[in-house]
């Protein structure tokens, strides 16, 4: 039981940390919030843009997590689903490692359509997939604790936890990205933008591979 509590803490920690990680990545949109604030010339445009970016990110997380929560009715296949999901995340990571081209479609979106942009940016980079092994880990623990509930009873809590995971992750992302955006907007200035914009492409792809491998490992080991 003690082990499960600490694993649970670690998994929720991973939800938050992945959120912070997505938030500081310029590719998930904080420069857009700075730009919106400066272009409109009103402070209020910045939180508005952050809100829109958060909404798009949340939708992208849910679009990925909800199908998995529905799949949890197949309780007998839990291990296979978790291994399959882990493999999918690894595959996305490998794909991003091999295909280093940037998704051009993002450049086609009008600068004011931030919800759509944020949704597509998260989808294109596999941001939602990064959460799947963590999320399935959390669901798996619930099963362990609850014993032999019927599949129907399981789905409700799993959908609920998909929302909680997505919300917690997005909140962490918005706080991290928001802090940077606010700091650049009010104090650091735009020089900071080009100085701190690191190429995270490889790190990001490797993160996906790593998270996927952990997912597979924990599936085998019953967490």
């Amino acid at each position: 039981m003690e082990l499960d509590t600490s694993t649970m803490t670690a998994l929720w920690g991973a939800v938050i940390v992945s959120g912070l990680y997505h938030g500081i990545n310029p590719g998930m949109g904080w420069p857009l919030a700075v730009s919106a604030g400066l272009m409109e010339g009103r402070h209020v445009a910045l939180p508005k843009a952050l809100g829109a970016l958060a909404a798009g990110h949340l939708l992208a997380m849910l679009a990925i997590l909800l199908p998995f929560s529905v799949m949890s009715v197949l309780v007998g296949w839990q291990m296979e689903i978790r291994i399959g999901a882990g493999a999918l995340v690894v595959a996305m990571g490998l794909y991003l490692l091999i295909n280093r081209r940037h998704p051009k479609v993002l450049a086609r979106i009008h600068p004011t359509r931030l919800v759509l942009w944020s949704f597509l940016a998260a989808m294109a980079h596999g941001a939602g997939l990064m959460l799947v092994p963590i999320y399935l880990g959390i669901c798996g623990l619930d099963v362990g604790q609850g014993g032999h509930e019927a599949a129907r009873q399981l789905m409700g809590p799993n959908i609920a936890s998909a929302f909680i995971v997505a919300l917690a992750h997005t909140a962490a992302m918005t706080v991290a990205g928001g802090l940077i955006a606010v700091a650049v907007y009010f104090w650091l200035g735009l020089r900071f933008l080009s100085r701190t914009w690191f190429n995270l492409d490889v790190v990001w792809a490797l993160s996906l591979v790593l998270v996927g491998l952990f997912g597979i490992y924990f599936a085998y080991n019953g967490h």
Binding site: P26, V34, L38, H102, L190
Partner: protein
């Protein structure tokens, strides 16, 4: 791909002005008539260098008759766009199109003194993938490199309208036509945009038969050259408004939007007004209701001249037209430089109030029936033409050829190529620099200039000045 953004990418125009100054320039070497292959001259711009003001390297092409004119970078400050997040390109390649051959050269200038050809795109590929010909202006944009063309399909480039095509900014593969709805646009010349505000503006010179073998006086006098500017929804690729500047305003060429993307205005130079031979600058802006407007804000009068001193083309008029052939706007959106190629003058206007420009500086050099010499006593053939401003706005460089066949009509018998520089005073004013005079190798004329690390007609900024 790099780990950090290229140090020559700047979030704002103001930051670009504070960046280190240029050490090298790249200038087109044009062989009129295609006797020699065209090239790119690398010019030393570092006053502390022993070879300051000299051509220190030449990249000579393997083909003849390309007719180099304008060119541009594979990547610029637009790479810091928060939308495309494509910050890890290098500003490393010059995209140099031949407007006569339709061939495109990609030149690697990572080390300017070792600059070399990286890739050649043959004309057949341009024709097949775009339906356009005679590639001209280059801008690095959101989805790749945008290239404007002067001709459509067919041998004389009149089979279909010219337009813009897009190239991949990493592989230099041609992707295809840009336009989804071109509206009234049937001629092309320059284009530029405001990326955050998502609009593009394009202009019109003429169709290939109207320029390739020289200016066609009958077409000019019957106002058949371009006289409209077009406004586009950049991402929808749709012409949303066309403004006819008036048929007498022949040849609407350079489009210079304000560099600060918060501003919704810019300028366009008109070569000649056929009713009075004036040159003109129009200011265009977006009105309160969201529609575009344009107004003539600068006029430059012709200079009366004894017909005996004039080339045959102009004898009937008894005057030298200014011929506004190039304009360029400093990065602080303060000074607009206007090349009067016919009259032999470079003008500097304070355009802090874009609706009321004020003439603040003027240099006389070359010119029809005048031939003003450089202060060091040397000749400057033709007149001031392609102009480029240093990022900090303190130095203004220019060359003198307009277009091979047109040079001969306006300046019969003259030959050569020069590049000069003028210093900008603290409060405006323009003075030719006596230490900078580049004479081009025999057989070559000089055309567009690009400055290492970007200049005032290449970079698009995605964030407003703070």
């Amino acid at each position: 791909m790099t780990l950090r953004p290229d140090p020559t990418f700047h979030a704002t125009a103001a930051l670009a002005m504070q960046a280190p100054v240029e050490n090298h320039g790249f200038t087109v070497m044009l062989s009129p008539g295609g006797d020699l292959p065209d090239g790119i001259a690398v010019v030393d711009l570092n006053p502390k260098s022993k070879t300051y003001g000299q051509i220190v390297h030449q990249v000579i092409m393997p083909n003849k008759g390309d007719e180099f004119h304008h060119f541009g970078w594979n990547a610029c400050s637009s790479s810091l766009s928060p939308l495309s997040g494509h910050a890890f390109l290098e500003r490393r390649y010059l995209i140099v199109p031949g407007i006569r051959s339709s061939r495109i050269y990609i030149i690697d200038v990572k080390d300017p003194l070792q600059a070399k050809i990286h890739k050649i795109i043959e004309p057949e590929e341009v024709f097949a993938k775009t339906g356009y010909s005679r590639p001209h202006t280059i801008h690095c944009g959101p989805e790749g490199i945008y290239v404007s063309t002067l001709g459509g399909g067919g041998a004389d480039g009149t089979d279909g309208p010219p337009g813009i095509f897009i190239m991949d900014c990493e592989t230099f593969e041609i992707i295809g036509q840009y336009e989804m709805d071109r509206g009234k646009q049937d001629k092309h010349y320059d284009f530029w945009w405001n990326l955050p505000q998502d609009y593009m503006v394009s202009s019109e010179w003429a169709l290939p038969p109207q320029f390739e073998n020289g200016i066609v006086p009958e077409d000019l006098l019957s106002n058949k050259y371009g006289h409209s500017i077009h406004f586009w929804d950049l991402r929808k690729r749709k012409n949303i408004q066309t403004i006819d500047l008036g048929a007498n305003h022949q040849m609407a060429l350079e489009i210079r939007p304000a560099h600060d993307p918060k501003k919704s205005y810019g300028f366009c130079g008109v070569v000649v007004d056929t009713t009075n031979l004036q040159g003109a600058i129009f200011t265009w802006w977006r009105g309160e209701d969201g529609t575009w407007q344009a107004k003539k804000t600068i006029t430059i009068d012709p200079r009366p001249e004894d017909p005996a001193n004039l080339p045959p083309l102009l004898q009937g008029f008894g005057a030298v037209p200014p011929l506004v052939t190039d304009i360029d706007l400093s990065l602080d959106d303060k000074y607009l430089y206007v090349a009067c190629w016919g009259m032999g003058e470079m003008h500097q206007y304070d355009v802090s109030d874009p609706m009321n420009p004020v003439l603040t500086g003027k240099v006389e050099l070359g010119g029809i029936a005048r031939g003003a010499k450089h202060p060091i006593g040397k000749d400057f053939v033709f007149g001031p033409q392609m102009v480029e401003i240093s990022r900090d706005g303190k130095r203004v460089y220019w060359t003198n050829s307009l277009y091979s066949t047109w040079d001969e009509q306006f300046y019969p018998g003259q030959e050569g190529g020069q590049m000069v520089m003028a210093n900008v005073g603290e409060n405006g004013g323009l003075t030719l620099d006596k230490d900078f005079y580049v004479d081009f190798p025999k057989g070559y004329r000089a055309h567009q200039i690009r400055l290492e690390g970007g200049d005032c007609s290449t970079d698009s900024f995605c964030y407003p000045n703070v």
